[in-house]
Assembly symmetry: C2
Homo-oligomer: 231 residues x 2
């Protein structure tokens, strides 16, 4: 049976914006494996209850159910060793750093940019769920967190934060060097989030990171680049 | 002739605190090469003028003169390929990210902790040089930048910043995985700076990063751990 990935969507099931799901989807494409995505909404916890938790991505591969994008990458490397996502322990360690940096540092300026546009893409009852859970986490209203001033400041912070990537990508095609690896997909998924939900979102023009993002969009027959996003 | 490394020192020539020199020294020890350090002070630009610039580390290896810690690491790998600091392009890319992150992010909370203690370790005329150049760069007096409040806040920021390292080092002995690589020495050199100059400096106790720092101090017969530092 074809591998299935439960993938977060908005009111329109075509719009897929979860950074963690994009990490997982790029990992499966990296492996050259066939799979289908299953559109899933925030409040459909029952549909993924077999995974023992309530978030996507969830990968169904035969009788195996794997949740959490990092666990999915490790599962793929163990089960399908060709074209490794992490070729050795050194790659695992460096991807781990990129994950911690993405989740702890890079998300900070991206969140104000993406949070309100995500809300706008949702239908009911997801809107109520998203507003309540995110406002509790953020300690402020979505409209405050993504105010015009906050978004402007966030773009300034984002440009600064991306300099660490620019330093690598001015000398190398990918964070993995000559070839993309799991670390590339971790950062790409993170940056895909605002790209998917905000029609006028742009990375700083002319930077090595913007050129790298375009390269990732083009990989695997333009898989990520041709996916529908917010109009 | 034995390889020589010009190495920044304070009024006491035994006290060596430059983060960039520590990166280079650990790299030479990693290679198992014999070398001697030459104590050098900020204002002794004439003594390293053959390098075409005014900062250390400067490595003299026969008729080769190499400055800049990254260039030294690349030179060592090209000239002495055994025990590579960066075993492939992937390692180079991941070390580059750690360098950009260390120089751009990790130094921010470390600077207030170290700047005034460094000044206190200097003699004349280095004190005048250091105060003038650093106050221009920082846009404030050394005493303001390293005020008690600023240092307290910096330790809070440092603990948060180190979480990206903790995420890796809770699963791996080194940033390079099972073995240290150039990326380890980049971060170690950065964190050695406050360790060398401030007697009561401590990394957050019980963290994977603190344990890793101790492992680096112990490497190569305790080379870094046995070096004299501020009393």
């Amino acid at each position: 049976m074809t591998m299935q990935l439960f993938d977060l969507c908005g009111a329109d099931p075509q719009i897929r914006f979860s950074p963690y799901c994009w990490r997982a989807k790029m990992a499966i494409r990296h492996k050259g494996l066939t799979f289908e995505t299953v559109p899933w909404r925030f409040t459909e916890k029952d549909r993924i209850s077999d995974s023992g938790q309530g978030r996507v991505p969830v990968l169904i591969d035969g009788d195996r159910i794997v949740s959490d994008s990092w666990a999915i990458a490790e599962y793929l490397d163990e089960t399908y060793p060709d074209r490794p996502l992490m070729k050795d322990e050194a790659a695992k360690a460096s991807a781990r750093f990129l994950q911690a940096w993405s989740n702890g540092v890079l998300f900070a300026p991206i969140r104000p940019i993406a949070v309100l546009p995500v809300y706008d893409l949702l239908g009911d009852p997801d809107r109520g769920y998203f507003r309540e859970s995110r406002e509790k986490m953020l300690g402020q209203k979505l409209e405050e967190h993504s105010s015009r001033d906050a978004v402007e400041a966030a773009y300034g912070d984002l440009a600064k934060t991306l300099r660490s990537l620019d330093a690598v990508l001015s000398d190398h095609a990918y964070l993995g060097g000559a070839e993309p690896y799991w670390g590339d997909y971790i950062v790409f998924g993170t940056l895909y989030w605002p790209y998917a939900v905000k029609a006028d979102h742009k990375l700083p023009e002319g930077t090595p990171t913007a050129a790298w993002f375009d390269r990732l969009l083009a990989l695997y027959d333009g898989y990520a680049g041709s996916a529908p996003r917010a109009a």
